[in-house]
Symmetry: D2
């Protein structure tokens, strides 16, 4: 047992921390100013491209791409293990609107690239994975539906019906992250090819749908506590009305959708948790800076017991969370995503709610500023809070984890 990062991780951490200081943090203000001048809120501020170019130059590119995937073009990934990537993803979480995108490590592209690398055909990889790895286009993952509890994939109502050499897709999806961004060129759509099949986990398939396919309507931007999340390309409601794509757009085989979704979720969840911890660190920093600079009732907030309690509890919670996420990454590397199932569920339960609480305290400490657009806290809070719902509400994961614990005693 050893709690020190290895040399490769330390080297990349140093590099990334410098990149954050020199490029990302200064770009936060710039990007806000540029955003105000954009023709559409869904366009990307120019500074983002500059950050991407710089990151790529420095080798801080596609760091998420873990080495278990056999890539057509191996140079694309950094070849890191989950355990090596974790502390880097955390650092990007400190500036979550810019840093993950700058490094081409932003959701949902990361998960989509992994799906294409693992399950895509050579042609699919050529057409979609290559430009994604190059950061030239963005992508979306269309799973959640408004009418059903779609965290249980057996409830999905979207249909993917074979018709000759094509598949025809009909359904309604929402909270499809990134889809408002015009750069988002490709959708991975989850639906049912065999809705009446006997095996509930073989009814689903995944299929590639290019944005410009007739019948695909990006209908509106869904809000998250009033935010539209322009930075991440928003969260769209998308309607599929007789959307026709060639059969070769299917990812993997018919009935393989559930399995691909499961494979996709593990890394996706851990990436979210890593970044959330970075957000918590940012919140602690902002709390401390505020506490030492504001005075109320004759002494700095930093000397007031309640504020000290918040800061201490935040620190204690973050240290624990980080270790559990790192251990989970290590388990994924050593025993695989399935072997790490319980731990992945544990971090999915623990991380958002803990970070939500830390951000809430940070908001409170900033007074009206905390709920305003002048500090990043309210928006970070809304994002973290949503992760208590996204990809299954906390309660579903608690139930599942408890059942596994109880099984030992049955």
């Amino acid at each position: 047992m050893d709690f020190a990062f290895d040399a490769r991780t330390e080297e990349l951490r140093d590099k990334l921390l410098t990149f954050m200081d020199e490029h990302v943090y200064p770009a936060e203000q710039t990007s806000h100013e540029q955003r105000a001048a954009l023709a559409s809120p869904w366009d990307t501020p120019p500074v983002v491209s500059e950050l991407k170019a710089e990151a790529r130059k420095q080798g801080l590119w596609n760091l998420f791409f873990v080495d278990e995937h056999s890539l057509p073009d191996a140079e694309h990934g950094a070849g890191l293990t989950n355990l090596q990537y974790a502390p880097l993803a955390e650092i990007t979480g400190r500036s979550p609107q810019l840093a993950p995108t700058a490094l081409n490590c932003a959701a949902p592209d990361t998960g989509n690239m992994e799906v294409l690398a693992q399950f895509g055909t050579a042609a699919q990889q050529k057409q979609w994975l290559e430009p994604l790895l190059a950061g030239e286009i963005r992508s979306a993952f269309a799973m959640t539906e408004p009418e059903v509890a779609s965290s249980d994939a057996t409830n999905i109502e979207t249909r993917i019906d074979r018709d000759g050499d094509d598949y025809v897709i009909n359904g309604r999806k929402w909270y499809i992250s990134g889809a408002m961004n015009p750069l988002c060129q490709i959708f991975i759509v989850m639906g049912k090819t065999d809705p009446d099949g006997p095996d509930l986990r073989r009814q689903q398939s995944m299929i590639l749908v290019p944005r410009d396919t007739p019948g695909l309507e990006v209908k509106r931007a869904m809000q998250v506590y009033g935010f539209e999340d322009h930075w991440h390309g928003g969260h769209a409601e998308v309607v599929f009305h007789d959307v026709r794509v060639p059969a070769s757009n299917l990812i993997g085989e018919e009935g393989g959708g559930f399995g691909i979704a499961q494979a996709r979720l593990g890394p996706g969840r851990i990436h979210h948790c890593m970044r959330l911890i970075g957000m918590a660190e940012r919140a602690i920093e902002l709390m401390c800076r505020r506490a030492v600079s504001r005075t109320a009732f004759g002494k700095p907030l930093a000397q007031q017991g309640v504020v000290q309690e918040w800061i201490a509890d935040a620190r204690v919670a973050v240290e624990q969370l980080r270790l559990l996420v790192l251990k989970t990454a290590w388990l994924m590397d050593t025993v695989g995503n399935k072997g790490a199932h319980t731990e992945i569920q544990a971090i999915k339960i623990a991380t958002p709610r803990t970070v939500v609480d830390i951000l809430d305290k940070a908001v409170q400490l900033h007074g009206a500023g905390g709920v305003s657009q002048d500090f990043p806290l309210a928006e970070l809070w809304a994002g973290a809070r949503t992760l208590q719902l996204a990809d299954g509400p906390d309660e579903v994961h608690q139930r599942s984890l408890a059942r596994r614990e109880l099984k030992r005693y049955l």
Copy 2:
């Protein structure tokens, strides 16, 4: 001791509940549709005027106006006690974007009307109170400042300087609710006329500033968790740059600002708490409706233990809160706002945080819908959460209440 409402209250409750069913709830959808067609988001949907007309016709108008005020024109108010008004205000809280305005009982106008009625000159009342009581204009209360912990009024930096027959105002305010609404014609501004005076509570004065006064700039809409709160006229940042008004615009006397603010706060706080309880009731209703209509893991949410726990705890909490608010109203009626000081502080502490928690559970139960614009929950949550900060953060009130409790043992 008697927990039954009196006959006048019961009669008005019946009337108001019918008004909600027949006019307000149906107008919720209408107003959203009308809002989408407005030239400016700060304009008011036409249905609001219709609601106001109907409410006035039915005698559901200015209900907040308690009978301790001697009005120039006594017919304006309903002559209710706080205890009679409380359960009515609660009902309006179930549709907080429409009902309080419909009844001309919306903040900050209510507090401003009380200030004018209690401290205004006949001329001030003629010019500003009358059109406010008639619902023809709106008003703002400019106290909070971005640079200081202005919940402590001794920190206020805005200057009101005497210059001949005028006062000249300089300062920066933010989160000035209602000020984005073009109908908001008059600002009550808190500032210091005697910033170096020996008595820290006699340095402040309040003054009337018409919206169109040169130098008054309504600079931008402040956000609340991504929401701009169009319904209430937003929360503006307002800059006062050499704003000159006649000396007769002063409310009360020089140095009286602190006292007026104190007098204004009690009723304002209790009104907020009443409406918050109505929001909590709306949240419970939405939770129950969702729970009986959604199925997950083979049974309705309504039969799942965790959901039952949320609903039970919400019900138990709301029953307690309501009684404390009612008792506080009764104390204000019987021993005055000063005698009810501790209880006013208690409801200020207890209500927002409890209602925030209930709304949070309601959001969670609604999944992605909960954080979206398709349900009112996220916006209600943001409003309730902000009341943990507005008019002094919870911690300030806890500190003050504890000191009073401890004083008995010193």
Copy 3:
């Protein structure tokens, strides 16, 4: 609606507060010293008898006896409503080991007296109710069983079998409060007379079993977090082995046990809640006294923010709880115990857990003293914590209350 106590209540409160100051609080120390000299820890310190005599003399006797009961000897009760009794019971809760007993208002005797008054025959009342009302003997209520979730009375396993002119009782009970006290002369035992009957709520009966009946074994004192609760006669495990009593000992009719238990629970729960609120007041007082007298890190605890937060939150919580308990008492008086069912359940859920939390903070503030026998806090905590379990765990009541709330929307 009126939050003032009526004249009779105010008069009795004054009298009782004086009695507490003059007799009960001084007896706390005395009784501890006397207890150390007792032959058996289950004996009663002599000062208790003195307190009883004094209370009776002052008319502070059997105050719990509400006037809906038709008593053989009407002079025994004070003829108070629940609403009048509530604030008096609260006061006794400030010294829960002495005051309720001093006033002959201690559980489980109160509930047992009510059962006998309401359901007992004249002979049963003559034999058992009279000496109980006179405070000459004590009694126990034997319902809880170790092997089953007996908060659900349909699970009860104790048998009451008819045999000629007798009933024969077999079963095992535990946590039978008061039974270790040798003054406890009579047991009301709940068991099944018709275990296979079709109506699950008609299988149970209640029967009177004198302590000295052969086969009744008071086996051992059950602990509550290390405490044996000598003051209340402990909580015994009691075994019934072929215990034979005449058929005339049955209370009410065969199959009536469930109904009697239900009738008994409402008042019992509200009495517990009233006293718990008194305990919370005692805890707040002790917290404040400690806070003003102890110094750490250069200033009194009373000036430390975290301590202030605890005290404020305790005060705010207690005010709300008290009002809900009072309203519940009022409902019991006006619409009956059944009409007040939801509120009785609400106070059963809310009160113990809130008071547990307040007592826990008080313990923390007292450091090692808090967990010790030198302050009453740890023992009060253990008693309050147990009420989250006794008479059905919180979760059972939350479930039931939620189902009633949800029913409106089905």
Copy 4:
């Protein structure tokens, strides 16, 4: 970074787990029965000696003794690092009344042995360390005082005055763990040799006082929520009245007491946390066993959502805690106790309160059994709760940790 235990740890874990199964768990029942037959509750049940003999035979002895200490007789310790010892200590925490003592790894002896090894003279080690390492005697550490907030050592009031070749000790201590056990032969006493010295951290000294020294009175057993903690030799109030010992009994130098206490605390705290995690594991096991075996409302508790939530949250919390404790152990090994100061404080804050909460849920799930002496839960709870106070209340550590966090921004 590597989360696997090393081979030595794995080997010892296997051995210890087998020892627990074969010897410790079976002895739990035996020891309770033997305890009932003891002449004094402070005597030790015979099975404890058997366990000790067996553990020593198996090499499971003095495992806590870390290798940085230079021992007079090196064979006594197992030569483990903190990181190697941590998971073993955790396992002993599953049966905290027997296992730590069986392995000669029980507090406060462990800390006392470390003090003697590190700061004792050869003669002191010969006389006291040797029999302690051999498990022949027990010891006590007398620091806490009833009259002052002694978590701040500068408040200590006990005097150690030089008088010729002797020191004379006067003072009152309480919660001196182990001191009720007649095997406890030696007290390490903290007091002031230089109460007016200019350096507040040089006023204190530590001194060895044999139990039979005239003037040392073990006055009474302090309770912990009603428990006297017979297993650990209780927690005594001890009065020192002109207790005279030779000057050679001083440990280290005059004025060195504060430093020794600091050195002692780090390992002591981490040992407590390790064992607490073992207790939490025991609680989870008991919860699960209960949940699968009890039925309420027609289905096993294990299938009820609220119970599942408790179990899931307990598992998630324990995993995080354990990792933080292990990392802290690793830091102590690699950068020393001082370098690990923040983390030691973090586990001191996080562990007791988390384990208290888990034990509380376990109690609730066991109903009346949970608060009784028939399950270990109530007693474990009381022990864990006390650790939120012992060695400084949580609030002191939160304050200190926050100040270190804030210091970076000053």
